[in-house]
């Protein structure tokens, strides 16, 4: 039986405080959370219902000019130069007076992600741990998303659709592991959308995916989809071909390539489609593929709930399409969170890390804090669930 009260809070308190540091991509997030030490937590799997209190959730994003992606070196530099300032802000907002006494554990993202940015944040975590004499926990980024989503939505055992700039996975829990049922065979969905945004040269602030969503919302021809490849392969999917194809359409549109009859009218030479049409069709096509593999996973494990996590999970159209699918299934329900918790943040790392810490699993030697770019979701032993 799971006992989440295995480790006692520091200094005789009846609650735990965790500091979470996230920096696996272009977002630098620092969050502070509080878990009360409830008796119910020692009597079985209540890991989705910790009564978490979010004391602070500060995020700073490295934004590049339109048409450009973020490079590891510059992203790492952003994190390195902001991390102390963001930690200070987070502690101040959480009213942490003395981190030496008030913080139980420091949680940081160990992977997966971009090597250099991960490294910057890990160094900050190690430094704080040494200065304050507080234990460390290295967290799998994907598990962070899942645990935060479960806690916020109270979904006990959902099929998880994890969609972000670096990952696209359909996950279900079984025997202490989050098992991957299906995933992308090439680029992640967020990467596909971001790269298309680069072709369109639309701004990267607040996020390229959000700007594509807004363009798609303004599409005036929602009844007329542009035909795109539909590449579901069993439980997996592929998106690089779709990206290459829609990129070529966009380039022909911008260049005014009248030979492309899909885009330009044969008679008048006027464009038949707009950038908004391209964005709408791309979203519909990609999201339909996601809904299909998620429904198949639900059928496999006989689940009725879906939890959408990751940056792309904040797309309201994806939530709507998933909701329609769930509605057609008996007792189906879709759970999603807003941008505060969907998009990478420090709180989610604190949540997953604190669960791990409460089970007595924390860093005993600094060699365990080495970050890793490749760290699959199913590599983590989920001791905090039955």
């Amino acid at each position: 039986m799971v006992n989440l009260n295995t480790v006692k809070p520091r200094n005789g308190r009846n609650y735990y405080i965790a500091l979470g540091l996230e920096g696996s991509a272009n977002k630098l997030g620092v969050g502070v959370i509080k878990h009360p030490r409830l008796v119910s937590m020692s009597q079985g799997d209540n890991s989705h219902n910790c009564d978490v209190e979010i004391l602070s959730n500060i995020r700073d994003t490295y934004v590049t000019p339109p048409g450009e992606g973020f490079l590891p070196r510059d992203t790492a530099r952003h994190h390195r130069n902001w991390v102390i300032r963001i930690i200070k802000q987070a502690l101040e907002k959480a009213e942490i007076k003395d981190p030496r006494l008030d913080i139980d554990v420091i949680c940081f993202t160990r992977g997966p992600g971009m090597g250099a940015p991960l490294h910057s944040v890990a160094i900050a975590a190690r430094t704080c741990s040494l200065i304050w004499d507080v234990p460390l926990v290295g967290v799998n980024h994907c598990v962070g998303h899942i645990e935060m989503g479960r806690e916020i939505t109270k979904a006990e055992n959902p099929v998880v659709l994890y969609v972000s700039g670096g990952n696209t996975q359909v996950i279900a829990y079984s025997e202490n592991r989050y098992r991957i049922f299906g995933e992308t065979l090439d680029v992640a969905i967020g990467n596909c959308l971001d790269r298309f945004a680069r072709t369109l040269k639309i701004p990267n602030a607040p996020s390229p995916g959000y700007n594509i969503e807004q363009l798609a919302n303004n599409c005036k021809n929602k009844d007329r989809l542009i035909e795109l490849p539909y590449t579901v392969k069993g439980m997996d999917l592929s998106m690089s071909g779709i990206l290459a194809y829609i990129d070529s359409l966009a380039k022909d549109l911008f260049r005014g390539n009248k030979k492309n009859r899909l885009i330009f009218d044969r008679e008048t030479g006027e464009p038949k489609i707009t950038v908004e049409d391209l964005c709408y069709s791309l979203q519909e096509n990609l999201f339909a593929m996601l809904v299909e593999i998620t429904e198949r996973a639900m059928a496999h494990v006989n689940a009725s709930q879906v939890l959408i996590v990751g940056g792309v999970g904040s797309n309201t159209r994806l939530q709507e399409m998933m909701g329609q699918m769930c509605k057609d299934r008996a007792n189906g329900r879709v759970h999603a969170t807003d941008e505060r918790f969907c998009i990478d943040n420090g709180v989610m790392i604190a949540q997953a890390g604190l669960l791990q810490y409460r089970m007595g699993d924390y860093v005993k030697d600094f060699s365990e804090t080495v970050v890793t770019q490749k760290f699959r979701t199913d590599e983590v032993y989920v001791s905090w669930r039955d």
Partner: protein, 138 residues
């Protein structure tokens, strides 16, 4: 407070010591020479808003605070280490390139020699021909 030190060692270098050189201006700034934004992003129109904060000055002494002094010294040392490692990478790259070029030159020379010896440049076919000749001779 003592200044920071760093050592580097590898199979070909027993020990390389990095230390703060007194009076050198690179140890009295938080803006390093090698730790700025990459030229690529600057050319793309990036405005650098991610600079490290300036050193904090103690109003009483009008000198940088202890932590700020440490930050400045580390910035200079980071430049030293980055330059050293970049140089080593260049050397390693040139060595690799030289080996590649040598092997490419050698391949071309072999091919020319082979052609001069009457071959047609197709190694596999030549080998087959030779094998057939040997069989017939038996």
């Amino acid at each position: 407070m003592t200044s920071p030190l760093a050592t580097y060692s590898s199979p070909d270098i027993t020990e390389k010591l990095f230390a703060v050189k007194e009076g050198n201006s690179r140890y009295s700034t938080t803006n390093g020479k090698t730790t700025g934004p990459s030229t690529y992003v600057l050319n793309a129109g990036q405005v650098d808003i991610d600079k490290p904060s300036d050193p904090r000055i103690n109003p009483a002494t009008q000198q940088p605070t202890t932590l700020s002094k440490l930050r400045m010294e580390l910035t200079g040392m980071q430049d030293d280490i980055n330059e050293f490692l970049t140089q080593r990478m260049e050397v390693a790259k040139n060595k690799k390139l030289k080996i590649q070029n040598t092997s490419e030159e050698k391949r071309i020379e072999n091919e020319i020699n082979e052609l001069l010896d009457g071959g047609d440049g197709d190694d596999d076919e030549d080998a087959e021909d030779q094998k057939e000749k040997n069989t017939n001779a038996k």
